[in-house]
């Protein structure tokens, strides 16, 4: 019942300030626009240069450096990269790791965060410490490696990449602090209605927490999307490599003390940039869609029952 009220009420309540804003432009607003535009440019320009560079012929790139305009124009890097199945396979791997990883991570994180946020005596505090300790202490590479490859036998499984990363203490606390803001009255009302703890969590808390879930889902998704180190450790079949590992391999493919020649004529500079575009591209394209939900979610979250 409460939710029905919420869903109609904000429309009238949120509006007035914004209407007022459009009437009168204050200096702070102007300064904000300027500030955001400047920072936006600083962020966008290098990215544009990567795109332009990935389309510039290798010889111009290595001798003259980066420029704003791709001259002479060249698609060499992209044609080289998309030859064969490698990049496509790695997209598949990355999408699997990101999709499944984010689902597991959000589910597990929400669960523990809620129990911490509930403030249960003798449970919540120790649990918070329990979740926080791994942020400070870790067993290091060798034990982790032995655990995954020998105890759990997860080598060459994408889950070896996913599972060590599914609980980020930082995001647990982001979520805890949001859960804590859940209005007590709503919980009390639900309890009076006779709802159990689980039902409260699923029917009351989660629907109210879409914004947090959107935030942590995005952050987890980015983590999984950018993940290469665990993939390097635990995956040995090149068909299973995610995109970022392929990028890593490409960038560091010829460096060693006893350096050896290669017969391939891949454009080094250009290819790195193209690979960057390919790697960032999809998540960048997906981001506005996620963000649409994100922003909507945030607006919903702003309403207080």
């Amino acid at each position: 019942m409460t939710a029905t009220v919420e869903r109609t009420a904000p429309v009238t309540r949120v509006r007035p300030p914004s209407r007022r804003k459009s009437r009168r432009l204050e200096p702070f607003t102007i300064a904000s626009y300027a500030g955001v535009i400047c920072f936006g440019l600083v962020c966008a320009i290098p990215f544009w240069m990567v795109v332009a560079g990935s389309l510039t012929a290798e010889s111009a790139l290595s001798q003259r450096g980066y420029s704003f305009w791709p001259t002479p124009f060249s698609l060499d890097a992209y044609t080289t990269l998309f030859q064969g199945t490698r990049v496509w396979l790695s997209y598949g791997a990355t999408i699997f790791i990101t999709g499944i990883g984010t689902a597991i991570a959000v589910a597990a994180t929400s669960g523990i965060a809620w129990v911490i946020a509930r403030g249960l005596p003798r449970v919540s505090r120790p649990l918070a410490v329990f979740a926080y300790i791994p942020m400070l202490f870790n067993g290091g590479l060798v034990p982790m490696y032995i655990l995954i490859t020998q105890v759990l036998q997860l080598q060459n499984s994408w889950f070896a990449v996913i599972l060590p990363l599914v609980i980020a203490p930082f995001l647990v606390f982001v979520q805890v602090s949001f859960f804590r803001a859940t209005p007590q009255e709503i919980l009390d009302a639900a309890r009076i209605d006779g709802a159990g703890e689980l039902r409260i969590f699923f029917q009351v808390v989660l629907p109210l927490s879409k914004p947090v879930i959107a935030v942590i889902a995005l952050f987890y998704a980015v983590t999984f999307w950018n993940e290469w180190f665990h993939a390097l450790l635990f995956l040995s079949q090149p068909e299973k490599f995610p995109l970022q590992l392929v990028l890593q391999n490409l960038i560091s493919s010829v460096t060693n003390a006893a350096e050896l020649g290669t017969t391939s004529a891949a454009p080094v500079y250009q290819m790195r940039l193209a690979m960057t575009v390919i790697t960032i591209g999809p998540i960048l394209l997906a981001y506005p869609f996620a963000q649409r939900y994100f922003v909507k979610g945030l607006t919903l979250g702003a309403t207080k029952g």
Partner: protein, 293 residues
């Protein structure tokens, strides 16, 4: 409580499980005997780091860089969030939010490639900054052999990478502030700037406090990925950029000894732990409502 079970199990297996391996820090680790059977070495592994003569400098760099990174990204994050909050028009706002978030997706290696383009052109001479300075008759600087400016350069890189990310966190917090809070301000005829400064900013304290406490715990950890990708093995920059993690990485490469790595990791953890306990105590005392532990 059952809701916490999956997370607790996952943490037990993947975070607490490998911690048993910390014994390596006290072992004369060797490959054949492995983790649990190598002979004991007492504190020998710790000696390597603390007698190196570089220990003070490395610890100082680690702390200094982390303080710079943490304060700069927090400050810029809050500022950007306040500014973004002023932007009206859903589409415009969303557009800018997306744009400033972009650097977060760029991997450290690519960041280092950019930075080389800006600070040193092909073959290591020129670069966009020097070219631009040249137009005004400013002599060019060989950035990659001048350790002085690097803490600031790295801080700028971090702000660039994380400013948008931080601002999203703060913006989420701003959006969660109920409208009524502003109503009083509106009635008083406060300007947008006053409201941002007097009402919004104080309400961001809990979020900032959480980020700070979490950051303090990791203050002894260098930002390995970014720093190593940018500085690499460039010794001339070590005086200001060498942090514990990069030092350990090189030590592992030359010594191939996981015992030393584990020992230094343990020191980092213990220092972080102590700092967090202190920070939490301070927080409880002065700002109880923001405490997370």
């Amino acid at each position: 409580m059952i809701l916490a079970a999956p997370a607790v199990i996952l943490l037990l297996v993947f975070a607490y499980g490998p911690m048993a391996g910390l014994v390596v820090a006290f072992q004369d680790f060797n490959v054949a005997d492995g983790v649990f059977a190598s002979p004991w070495a007492g504190l020998e592994n710790f000696r390597f780091f603390f007698t190196s003569g570089d220990a003070t400098r490395i610890m100082r760099n680690t702390l200094l860089l982390n303080v710079l990174f943490l304060s700069a990204t927090l400050a810029v994050g809050v500022m950007l969030a306040l500014m973004l909050n002023e932007i009206r028009g859903k589409v415009t706002k969303r557009f800018f939010q997306s744009v400033i978030f972009v650097p977060y997706f760029v991997s450290p290696i690519v960041v280092s490639i950019f930075l080389q383009a800006f600070l040193a052109g092909p073959g290591g001479r020129g670069g966009l900054i020097n070219d631009a300075a040249g137009l005004f008759g400013i002599p060019s600087v060989t950035w990659y052999t001048e350790p002085g400016p690097w803490p600031w350069i790295l801080t700028l890189v971090k702000v660039w990478q994380l400013g948008g990310y931080m601002s999203v966190i703060f913006l989420a917090a701003i959006t969660a502030i109920p409208e009524e809070v502003y109503e009083a301000g509106e009635i008083d005829g406060a300007s947008r700037a006053q409201m941002a400064w007097r009402i919004t900013t104080p309400l961001l304290k809990p979020t900032a406090a959480i980020l700070l406490v979490l950051g303090v715990g990791r203050i002894f950890y260098g930002d390995f990925a970014t720093i190593y990708a940018i500085v690499g093995d460039n010794g001339t920059l070590f005086p200001t950029t060498d942090v514990i993690d990069t030092y350990v990485f090189r030590a592992l490469r030359t010594r191939g000894d996981f015992g030393v790595t584990a020992a230094i990791g343990l020191v980092q953890s213990v220092v972080g732990f102590v700092l967090v306990v202190i920070a939490t105590m301070v927080q409880r005392r002065y700002a109880k409502e923001t405490s997370i532990l």
